[in-house]
């Protein structure tokens, strides 16, 4: 360990301090299990401290000139099993995202976890939480594939235990089971890819050369990496675990899972495919782009019809990972065609969106946690009117929703704008098919953006506006201040990044220079408040700060004008006109299901909505009760996963009855045949 301090610079020391603090948080949370209050304070306090060190580490590492820093290399006596921790600017960037999120989430958790006191063992939760963060740090900083794999598996297992933390609920256990199956299938693909990597290069070094791997093996490895990392990222069609697992975990953990865990897949793709294998064929990029398009559209379409707040956010994560993959796909295509400017721009766009998604999805999951904390339900149909009862949470949630809907001056706008720009820049004469695909993805991205905005209008409008739809919603009170502080920091960062995008772009430029050898900053012209399109031909530019300023100015001017023209307003409070019926109540409001109905009908081909009307009573015009059920068909479960699981089940059933017969004679025959075949093989070989 001492050697490690000597080997590395200042950021190395900071890194180890943060690792030790996280480990201490894990240990103390188990030691102080008996006293939940102290345990929560100590554990989260240590995590907050550790994350501050983590932020410092990553900022220093991005700022200094040295590209690679070996933090710790330990060769064990067992061959190829070595602990190898390295920091380069790409890892530092993801470490920065993680640390910022952990800082806010840990502050939030001090308040949020209090509702588990006396019900569940909080010490275990904090232990898993800290260990989960540690495993993600090691995924981001490991230097060889074996250690990466160990950290990756640890991350999967720890997050599984966090998903089933509230294990008394049947649905959580089922969600956890689905998650662990899917993630292990993904890991299996990675394992095969690592084995191929080793069989050609005789080395597990992630930073080494892949020159010894022939082209066809690289193609196979790409497909394996895409499937393996895609499962973790939750791209359609291997997304099915995500909408169940993310809502099942405690909300601050959901924020981590959705905010950063699925990004480790993006890191893996960049590290292993972009950097290690090197982009070889154009179709690699096309495959990623197509997955991105499908995920963006499907994710947001399902988000729009969802009633559970946290599940809506989880589907929206699928959409955002789709947008990130669109950027990645363009980067891969451009790289394969040798267009380094577009490649750099697209990479910047997708990394920027990673950061943004970390910030706003983190804040939204924390907001959903606050709503659940205050009202005890995640079902939108039972909420409503929360803006009166929890004003601070409502404002913060609104800001998060604006960010994710890509509204100026929040951060979501910048990265989506950059993604659009890189898509437009990728339209070049001579590549007809790719041009068509690119134009299609522009259209899909636009549609996804519109649907995302609609989803968050629905989420905010149904849950926070109007009248409370249930007892629980009307009894909700504002959450403890410390929870709003955690969420507030994230929302402030969303706004700051949105107003000063160039600061982030400068950082991203250093990341790209270190990692891909591309610098886009000279092409971004100048300006501190303005993000310029790097296209020299059109000179597109956008400045969120100016837009925000003008917008505020216009509103102010309008208010002043109204005051001057209209004179002093008199405020009067009367009930809403109710057409002469009885007074309006919560039942007369627009419901979440009703709000999404038009889109459900318009996208009938995707949702295949079903409707059942049950009428009880003899009288046609005056029935005793009418029951109206609407549902959508889960097409992926029904047409992809059900047949596969049925097939697996029938095969195992057949094996049970035809191979594993229970007859000793049959087993002896298997042995005899095996011996005979082996003897025969030995003879002819």
């Amino acid at each position: 360990m001492l050697e490690a301090f000597h080997n590395s610079g200042g950021q190395g020391t900071l890194f180890w301090v943060s690792i030790i603090l996280y480990a201490a948080a894990a240990i103390f949370s188990l030691a102080l299990m008996k006293n939940p209050k102290v345990c929560t304070l100590v554990s989260n306090g240590l995590c907050i401290l550790a994350s501050v060190f983590g932020i410092a580490t990553s900022i220093i590492d991005i700022a200094i000139e040295k590209i690679h820093t070996d933090l710790y290399v330990f060769q064990s006596a067992i061959p190829y099993l070595s602990v190898d921790i390295r920091l380069d600017r790409l890892s530092s960037f993801f470490l920065l995202c993680l640390s910022v999120l952990v800082l806010c989430v840990s502050i939030y958790a001090i308040g949020y976890v209090s509702h588990y006191f006396g019900k569940r063992n909080v010490g275990v939760l904090h232990f898993l939480y800290a260990a989960f963060i540690l495993s993600m740090i090691f995924v981001m900083t490991s230097g060889n594939a074996v250690f990466f794999f160990v950290a990756w598996e640890a991350m999967a297992l720890l997050s599984y235990f966090l998903v089933i933390y509230e294990s008394e609920k049947e649905e959580n256990v089922n969600a956890g089971r689905l998650y662990i199956i899917m993630t292990h299938i993904g890991t299996a693909f990675l394992l095969i890819a690592f084995m191929i990597m080793f069989s050609y290069t005789r080395s597990f070094d992630m930073f080494g050369s892949s020159a010894a791997i022939p082209a066809f093996a690289k193609n196979i490895m790409f497909v394996l990496f895409l499937l393996g990392f895609g499962t973790k990222a939750g791209v359609v069609p291997v997304h099915i675990w995500l909408p169940y697992a993310h809502p099942a975990a405690p909300s601050h953990v959901s924020a981590l899972m959705s905010g950063i865990m699925i990004k480790t897949a993006v890191y893996g793709l960049l590290r292993f495919v972009f950097s290690y294998l090197g982009v070889q064929n154009t179709w690699w990029g096309v495959a990623i782009l197509v997955l991105g398009i499908v995920s963006a559209l499907m994710g947001v379409a399902y988000a729009f019809v969802e009633k559970n707040i946290k599940r809506l956010l989880a589907y929206s994560s699928i959409e955002n990972i789709g947008i990130i993959f669109i950027g990645l796909g363009i980067a891969f295509i451009a790289k394969a065609q040798g267009n380094s400017l577009v490649c750099g721009l697209a990479l910047a766009a997708s990394l920027f969106h990673c950061l943004n998604h970390t910030l706003f999805k983190g804040s939204l999951f924390l907001g959903a946690g606050s709503v659940h904390f205050a009202s005890g339900t995640k079902n939108m149909e039972e909420l409503g009117g929360l803006i009166k009862r929890m004003p601070v949470t409502a404002v913060l949630f609104l800001c998060g929703a604006l960010s994710i809907s890509a509204i100026v001056p929040f951060n979501g706008f910048i990265s989506e704008w950059l993604t659009y720009q890189s898509l437009f820049a990728n339209i070049l004469p001579g590549h007809a098919l790719i041009n068509i695909l690119t134009i299609l993805s522009v259209a899909v991205l636009a549609m996804a953006g519109a649907l995302a905005a609609a989803s968050f209008i629905k989420l905010f409008g149904i849950s926070f506006l109007g009248l409370p739809r249930s007892e629980r919603a009307s009894n909700a009170v504002e959450v403890p201040g410390v929870m709003n502080v955690g969420m507030g920091i994230l929302v402030t960062l969303c706004l700051a990044v949105g107003l000063f995008p160039m600061a982030v772009l400068q950082m991203l430029d250093r990341v790209l220079t270190g990692f891909a050898g591309i610098s886009i900053l000279p092409q971004l012209k100048n300006g501190w408040l303005t993000a310029f399109s790097p296209l020299s031909i059109s000179g597109n530019a956008v400045s969120p700060a100016v837009i925000a300023g003008v917008f505020a100015g216009v509103i102010l001017a309008a208010l002043v004008l109204i005051r001057i023209i209209g004179g002093k307003r008199r405020e009067r409070k009367v009930g809403t006109w109710d057409c002469g019926f009885e007074s309006l109540n919560a039942r007369t409001q627009y419901s979440a299901t009703g709000f999404s109905k038009p889109v459900k009908i318009a996208l009938k081909i995707l949702f295949r909505p079903s409707r059942v009307v049950k009428t009880e009573g003899d009288l046609v015009y005056h029935p005793e009760s009418i029951q109206y059920l609407v549902g959508i068909e889960p097409i992926f479960e029904r047409y992809l996963y059900d047949p596969i699981s049925k097939l697996a089940r029938s095969i195992s059933h057949k094996i049970k009855y035809s191979v594993q017969t229970g007859s000793i004679h049959a087993y002896l025959i298997y042995i005899l045949l095996t011996v005979l075949i082996l003897m025969f093989y030995n003879r002819i070989a």
């Binding site: 229970g662 004679h665 002896l668 005899l672 003897m679």
Partner: protein, 218 residues
């Protein structure tokens, strides 16, 4: 000496054919006893040989142990086990005897084919002995497959063990003493456990027909 060993090797193979043709359990045990005696004889011949040329006595000790365990103790144990379980005359095998004998012949031919190119054992008569003893192993396994009653399985298992022992002995002119002894201890405990299991099977299923064990499957 070599011609004695050749004759013994052929006799061993012949005894396994005889075993396959036996219908009654008592004759199974008798044939096994005969086979074990042949092995003891072979070990004795090799032992005398090594005593004269190298001054080693271990193979003679092995010969004595074989006589004690395989010729005297195990057949007696099997007789006792068989006497204690209920005796029912019923068809014990799946295929009829001629087909089984034909199968054995095919196994010998196959073994000859499989080993004909193997290096190191392909010199002169050694090859014939190894082919015979490897066939003995496979015929033992085939015998286990062909019989329904649990005692048939025990005898088959013992024949496989005999085959392995003879193969090792012919191929190496006597294995290290401690390995031989270890094998005997193994064998002894295995046969005792199998004997107890036969009682248990008989107790549970009112028969020693191992086909009925299918019911155990979940």
């Amino acid at each position: 000496m070599s011609s004695y060993l050749d004759i013994l090797s052929v006799l061993l193979l012949l005894s396994s054919f005889v075993l396959m043709a036996n219908k009654r359990i008592k004759s199974h045990i008798r044939t096994f006893r005969f086979q074990s005696a042949m092995i003891a004889l072979a070990a004795g011949i090799l032992g005398v040989n090594s005593l004269i040329h190298e001054g080693r006595v271990d193979l003679l000790v092995v010969c004595a142990v074989i006589i004690a365990i395989k010729v005297i103790y195990i057949p007696r144990l099997l007789h006792r086990v068989y006497a204690n379980v209920e005796y029912k005359v019923e068809k014990d095998f799946f295929l009829n005897i001629p087909i089984l004998i034909l199968g054995c012949c095919m196994i010998v031919v196959f073994t000859y084919f499989a080993l004909s190119k193997t290096d190191g054992i392909n010199t002169g008569t050694e090859n014939m002995r190894v082919v015979n003893s490897v066939s003995l192993i496979l015929i033992g396994l085939f015998f286990m497959i062909s019989r329904k009653k649990a005692i048939g399985q025990i005898v088959g298992f013992l024949v496989i063990e005999n085959g392995i022992f003879v193969t090792a002995m012919f191929a190496t002119q006597g294995m290290p003493f401690i390995v031989d002894m270890g094998m005997f201890v193994d064998l002894l405990s295995a046969v005792m456990i199998l004997g107890i299991m036969v009682f248990k099977i008989n107790e549970k299923f009112d028969s020693i027909d191992i086909n009925k064990l299918k019911n155990l499957r979940g």
